[in-house]
Every structure is written in C-alpha cells, then in structure tokens.
Assembly symmetry: C2
Homo-oligomer: 423 residues x 2
C-alpha cells in the first residue's frame, strides 16, 4: 500500500461480528468498508417475536447506515458478495469489486436442511426476516383456512404445528406460538373450536436445550408442557410430505406447518475462502482468528470454527462480538507492525426464554430459572439491542403484551412470495 494511504479493511456481513469489528476499528489507522446484502443489522435473537406477531420488522432491524454513519473511517456498501479472490485480494459483489488489504469474513449461519429439498420447500426456518414474516403469515393463514374447513380431520390437521429441534430457537418458537394461540387467536377465532390446536416440539436427543445443566433442561421441559406444548424426546423427523410428517418411530402425523430449527450450518461463503471446511461448513481458523495461509484474512462469528482448549466455540452472539473486537485489535496491530494476539473467549453464559414469565440462564456455576431467569433474559436482550429507539419501542411492545396479552402485529404480510407451506 502506498505511503500515507491507510490500509483498507473490508468486512463482509453486518451481523454481531461485523458491527463489532467496524466499531472497534474506529480509532485504528485504517479505512473500513462494510458490505452486506441487506441494508439493516438484524437482531436475530428476537426474530421469533416477529414470527409470532409481537414485534414489527423495523424494531429488530436497525439500518446499517445509522450505525456506521457516525464512524468516520467506515462506510457501507449494499451488495451481495459473489466471490472472494484471495490472490488479488478482491471481494466480488453483484454491484462492484472491492479491493482490500485486510478482510474480515463474518457472514454467519443459515438453516441446515441437510440437502433435503422437500424439507426445505415444505418447512419454514427462522434465520432471517423473510423467515420470520413467512412464519407469522403461515400461522395466521392456517387459522383463517381452518375457519372455512368443515371436514373435522382436515380442520384438526391445519391447526397442528410441529416445531423440530429442542434448542433455544425451537423452544422459544414453541413457547411463543402456544401463547399466541391461547391468548390471542382464541379471541380472534372465538367461534372456532380450538381444542384440537396443538403445538408439538420434536427433539432427537433425550433432553431439550442440550448445552444447559440437566436441572434447567428439566425446568424448561416442565414449563413448556405446563403451557401446553407436547414435547417428544428421542424422536426425529423422517420425511415431510404434503400435510403430514413422518417421525423416526414410523408415526405419521398430519400437520399444517413444520418449523425447522434442527439444523444450522455456516454461510455458503465459507467455501470461497477455505477448501477444507469444518463441521457444519465452518471455516477453521488460527487461534488469532486468521485464515491459515492468509494472515490478512480473518474469519469470525458463526462462520468461524474457533477451537479453544480443544473445544469448538458455539454459534453465539457474544462469541461473534468478542471475535470482532479481537480481529479489529489484530488488524490494528498488523497495520502498526506488531504481532496479532490469541483470541480468548470470555464466557458470558447462555440463556433461553420459554414464553412469558419463564426463562433459563446459566452463567458459569450460576443457574437461574423461572421468573427471575425471565427478567434476566429481558434485561440482557434489551441491553444488546443496537438502537435506543428500538429499545424504547420494544419495551413499550413488551409491556403492552405483558399487560394486555395483545400481539398487535397479527397481519399477514408476505415478504418473500414463498408458497403456503404444507397446509
């Protein structure tokens, strides 16, 4: 790079990792360009609340420019990355090619349908805004369809919801879905017999919330069942067909909608920087978060396979944010001729909510459940949200929902033009 011109850092992906990188580079002697295919940063931990008609899209989608605007050495480019040329140090997008001196790749993760096209077409995941609006529209539309349906078996089928995967996303959706139905749709469809409505959570292992302590797993399971969710453990989904799903024990379950949360894999862009990918398509990186053989390239967030003390770090927002700050420090160091440092993950714990009034949280030896866990969940998530205006707006919505049990966003808005599910 010529004397006097600061090196260019290109950051691909405006998620938790990307934003943390750009912010942490603010004082560094570099020029940063953030690239994303959307013009908003998505607060994905609350996607399920958009999907269950509680929040509006813009409450969890902050315009990237509102975040990047105040940072003097950063700019944003809207574009879809189509390739990365590591030799010529160029990012190819659908609008323009961008040259870099340092590259940070953090395009996150996506739903893993394990190559099963039928599954992909007939179920809905929950990884982006389209998914959330699609989930909301499909659930509401199934109720609208059921209202017209006079055949009892078909009526009951339309109102059977199957959530696959007992991880955080699965139990959050199942909990919110059962509350949407019991508190709101019961009123909206007061003349309809809702005794046949069911929400079933299907989990392949013998417990929900794998990474949590068994006591919290038990607590979450009891809470789910108390709210009315049927939980099937040690059960896998075999095949999803029109209007039914086949379980691993051979049972065929007629249903209206399958929500698929049983698989997550890294973004496709991983293959553009690494020929050998790790588990779930993640890119193995050095302990400094650098790409082996390419010290000028950093891979962080869900996309990166970071091994610490022999363990691979999980796909979590704190890992992504801390990774972003570490990559920024290392780029600053390299730009100033110093050596990059190792990434040390500071474990902030894990938490998961199960409808209103209940959550489980685990921070080191500390385990919190029930109502206190739920308050902790509310507090932590509010703190993490990027814009103050969204914080205000979300608090108003949460309080409204808590006091009146109302979910105001019960509008069928299709953002994707996708089909109508298997109902």
């Amino acid at each position: 790079m010529p004397n006097g011109t600061p090196p260019t850092v290109v950051v691909i992906g405006a998620g938790f990792a990307g934003l943390a990188t750009v912010k942490a580079l603010e004082k560094a002697p570099v020029q940063t360009t953030l690239v994303d295919q959307h013009n908003y940063h998505l607060f994905s931990p609350l996607l399920y609340q958009v999907g269950t008609a509680l929040l509006d899209p813009s409450e969890i989608a902050t315009p990237v420019r509102a975040v990047v605007g105040p940072i003097d050495n950063a700019e944003f480019h809207l574009g879809r990355v189509e390739g990365i040329d590591l030799d010529s140090r160029t990012v190819k997008t659908d609008r323009e090619d961008i040259a870099y001196d340092y590259l940070v790749v953090c395009t996150g993760s996506r739903t893993n349908f394990f190559g099963n096209r039928t599954l992909e077409e007939r179920s809905v995941g929950l990884k982006d805004m389209d998914d959330a609006l699609s989930l909301r529209s499909r659930v509401l539309d199934l109720f609208e369809k059921a209202k017209w349906e006079e055949d009892t078996a078909k009526h009951s089928r339309l109102l059977t919801f199957v959530v696959v995967g007992g991880g955080s996303t699965g139990i959050e959706i199942a909990g919110a879905l059962i509350e949407l139905i019991h508190f709101n749709l019961k009123k909206d469809f007061k003349e309809m017999d809702l005794s046949e409505v069911s929400v079933t959570l299907v989990e392949g292992s013998d417990a929900v919330l794998g990474p949590f302590h068994p006591k919290l797993q038990q607590s979450a399971l009891r809470t789910l069942e108390r709210k009315g969710v049927k939980v099937m453990l040690n059960t896998r989904v075999g095949e999803v067909r029109d209007g039914e799903v086949e379980l691993s024990d051979g049972t065929v379950m007629p249903c209206g909608l399958v929500v698929w949360t049983a698989g997550v894999c890294a973004s496709e862009l991983g293959s553009a920087v690494a020929s050998e990918l790790g588990r779930g398509g993640r890119v193995p990186v050095d302990s400094t978060l650098q790409l082996p053989g390419h010290p000028e390239v950093f891979v962080i967030g869900d996309l990166a396979q970071i091994t610490e003390d022999g363990k691979v770090l999980p796909m979590l927002a704190p890992v992504a944010q801390q990774g972003g700050r570490c990559a920024a420090r290392n780029i600053s160091a390299m730009a100033e001729g110093r050596t990059p440092e190792r990434f040390k993950y500071m474990d902030k714990g894990i938490m998961s909510t199960i409808g209103r009034n209940a959550a489980v949280a685990q921070v080191g030896p500390l385990r919190i459940g029930g109502f206190v866990g739920w308050l902790a969940w509310l507090f932590v998530h509010l703190l993490l949200i990027v814009s103050f205006r969204s914080q205000v707006s979300i608090v108003v919505n949460w309080a409204w929902n808590y006091a009146l049990n109302d979910r105001p966003a019960r509008t069928i808005l299709r953002a994707d033009g996708k089909g109508e599910g298997i109902g």
Copy 2:
C-alpha cells in the same frame, strides 16, 4: 328466510366503509359476515409514512379480527372475492361461496394506470401495503445504487424522483420524500454528493390540490417549493421508459423512480354488480345507496358513485364511513319492514399535509394552513386510527421523528417481489 333465523349481511371489504357498516349493524337483528382478501384494516391516509420509512406496517394495519372480535353478531372471513351472483344471492370467494340476504359492497379504489402497462410496470402507486413497502425499498435502493455509480450522469439520474399528480397523495409523498432525503439520507450517505438529488412534482392542471381554495393551493405550493420540491404545473407525463420519463411538452427527463398518483379508479368488483359503470369505474347507486334494481345490495365507499345535489361525492374516508352507517341503518329498516332513507353526506372538510410543520385544511368556510393546519391534521388523523395501541405507537414515532428527525424504518423489505423500477 326462515322464521327465527336472522338475515345474513355480507360485507365485502374491510376498509373505512366496511368497518363502519359492521360496527353500525352491531345492535341490528342480523348476522354479519365481513370478507376481505387481507386480514387487516389498512389506515390508508398514513400509507405514505410507511412508504417514506417513518412508520412500520403494523402501525397502520389493524388485524380485522381485533375489530370484529368484540362484535357479537359479526364474523370475519379471509378470502378473495371472485364473483357475485346477484340472482342466487351468493358471493363467490377463492375459498368458499357465501349466501347473503343483504350485500354491502365496498372494495374501494385502486391506482388507475389508464390501461398503460408500461406505466404500471415502471412506476409505483400508493394504494396498498405492497405499494408502500415497494416505494420505501426502491427509494432506499436507489441511494444504495447511486453510491456505487461513478458516472456522473447516471448518478444524477438515479437520484431524480418524479411524483406524478398534485393531489393530496402526490404532495404528501413529495413532502415526505424530500424530508427523508434532506434529514436522513443526507446523514446516511454523508460521503455522497447529494446536490443533484431532486424531487419533482408534475401536475397536469394549473394548481396543486384541486379541491382546495386557491389561497390554500398557493400556500401548499409555496411550502413544497420552500422544502425543495420542484413543482411543474400544466405538465403531463407522456411516456415512462427505462430510466426516463417524457413530459407533455416534449422534455425527456432522466429519472430513477416515478411515483404515480395521477389516477384513481374504483375496484374491479364494480363490474360484478353493475353493467354500466360511472366515471372511474364507480357504481352508480340510488340516493339510498342501493343498487338500482337490487334493493338488497348496497354499494358504498370509493366504489360507489353517489350523486348529491347534482354532484358526485369524492373518494374520502368520511364519505365511506357515513355511507357505512347509512347502509347499516337502511338494512336494519328493511329487516324490520321499514323504508330505507336517503343518504345525506355531512361534509367534514378536507385536509392534506406537506411534510412536517405544514398542512392545509378546509372545513366549510374555515381555511387553515401552516403549523396550525398541521396540528389539526395530526389530531384528526390520530382520532381516526382504529386501535388505541396504534395511536400510542404512532404518537411515539411522530414525536421521535419530530424531535430527532429520525426515520427508524429505513429497511429495504420487499413485500411484493416486484422489479426494481426503472432505475
């Protein structure tokens, strides 16, 4: 109808007219079924605020079931009406056929592209939620595209916005668009030269806001120009081509987006009930709002051509609401063997806003402009909004916008999968 069973009233359309009818029939000895293709009532006067990134969809879209739910003798059916059989008294929808004793048709109006397919494909109207989200996405996307464009002429073209039609919708969009650009996008695209951005309002007649007093027309014109909108009077749009629009004086104007508000016509369903339609496809009705020859059918709202004292009533929310209440009274009267009464429109005046701090309002001899007009506009529109929660949420958003000039909903969300305009 058999003794003891109350007569069935089917109301098609959940706009201002339809909701007013259903509410006014609450105490009548009838059973009401409201049908609409969307599950929400759209508060269309604020559509332009969704289109210009100020409000979120669910703030102006109230779930129909939230309104109809508390009304004991009413229910809602989500469905698209495909035909009406006046002889067998049946409404055909894409989901089911519904028999009626009385029918109220109020499917409103839509953008009139005058059969010009090129115009329809290359411009955006503002009549429904898809339009609003499409307008928002296209405006934001043109700025994102312009950022990548190095050719000066192309750059300038992308940032040229043409609003066709100087009626209420046209000036509201033009005013909000110029403020979105000057207050928000200027900050979002701080490194871009925005001196070439232009918003042009093209109006065929010699004044904006046709139905208003000349003094208010002048006031609106001055306000628009002061805010930076170029207004071209006595000018029509000839042809819209890729990247340019040809005006009636032969000028070819390169531009990125054409917003078409120069034509409104009645919903297509008019032809299902009347063979001879009035101006703009409206259905001529008797002074009792009944369909000539079919006393059991009422046509109201924008779809109806109601002539009073020799004048056709305008397409306005108060006409629709009062029409709904009159139709409900007349149906009650007929169900009880009495004679339907004439519709008397009580003129509530007209108002229109031009960005922040300015509006014009005209109530009988009273004419209000400027800041006082704007406060009146805020007050009236808040009162009209159906749900209390939306009122709270919109006030918060308006206050936020007023205090900080922020438009939080600057997210590119396509709800329609439509093309990218002519840019």
